[in-house]
Symmetry: C2
Subunit: 230 residues, 2 copies
Amino acid sequence: MSLPLRQKQEHTLFYSSLCPFSRKIRLQLAEKKMMWRAFEERLFAPSEKLCSLNPEGTTPVLVMGGDVLVKSYAIQEYIEERVPDFSLLGDKPSARGEVRRLLSWFDEKLFYEVTQKFLNEKVIKRSRGNCEPDASVLRQARQALYEHMDYIGWLFDRRSWLAGSQLTLADLAAAAQLSCIDYLGDVSWDKYPSTKEWFVKMKSRPSFRPLLMESFVGIIPSRTYRMLDF
Amino acid sequence: MSLPLRQKQEHTLFYSSLCPFSRKIRLQLAEKKMMWRAFEERLFAPSEKLCSLNPEGTTPVLVMGGDVLVKSYAIQEYIEERVPDFSLLGDKPSARGEVRRLLSWFDEKLFYEVTQKFLNEKVIKRSRGNCEPDASVLRQARQALYEHMDYIGWLFDRRSWLAGSQLTLADLAAAAQLSCIDYLGDVSWDKYPSTKEWFVKMKSRPSFRPLLMESFVGIIPSRTYRMLDF
């Protein structure tokens, strides 16, 4: 008799610590109580092993049951299909539609408008030497961030979780992006009480603990990053 | 007895003519032999009706079986779930993983690096008045386009279709982006014979015909746009 998929230890995830898409998949695997081996990759400096699996050199990459999955959209849907007993996409077609709408929103809009800008200015430039962050880009990103925090709070005022009455991938995607931003900067949480309340709820989940324990080489996390009550 | 989903006429798609994501969904609906009513929206000038369904004001939006679907990721997965008898995602989990990897590639990378730049410079600026396209942005977009055309040709040299041995959403997504670009510019097709061969095959499908017949107000399509043998 073979072990069920979630107990197999040969699943392997290649991730980067501050990659929000890696964080989303790590949260998904943990929420599904899957076990996996993790290979940490340096952000934007892929290893040979990673490139042999994904010539694009991006994280996350999941190797599971002999299949190699690249891009978080492919990975998250694959995990949902292979381990369907506890759905993070919702049960009804319309509910899944709302989850996927929000996944597009957070993975694209929030990422390109905010997270990518913070990562570029505060991590990538730093890793390349003496280039200073561009204050006007950071100001722009911060402005967009507060619009997204408004929207997250608006959703949470109306629902138990962002996409409806249950925890879904939409919560994991938003929390993954916000946790990267929170690591790198001083987010004005107190101005967005609903968003803060939702984020406290997310941070308190056991799936979140490994992310909160993490340190990114050379960059100290913000004052609020590890605190559950901030 | 109720009609099967594909024969119901009350499905409604809100689309914009040169929106590549609308094109992808129109191709998907046509390949599935679905019937639907179409509401044309002006690119980046959403109607009140569209905004009442999708406050973000973006196309495509699909109303199907009482559900409102927003964002092409949500729409394409919804259609695949509701009309599963002829899959455009592939049958095996690993095949679906490859299709979704390519969907991410074309819908994000090809879009942001190329299609969005062409649309901004050649359509949006034009609609706002006397602002000329920025030649350096167009040059950048053209350079990126040729890398994508190389990649599409590379895939097609190894496979019958872009993601494997059958037509999938990956082909529709790539063709949707390329058809918008082809409408707006002079693509050097002859330099990329494999990509051209694949695109001729795509353009010859009945699902493609309505796109080729289309005219975008005030902008004449390129010389090659309507030709099946160019």
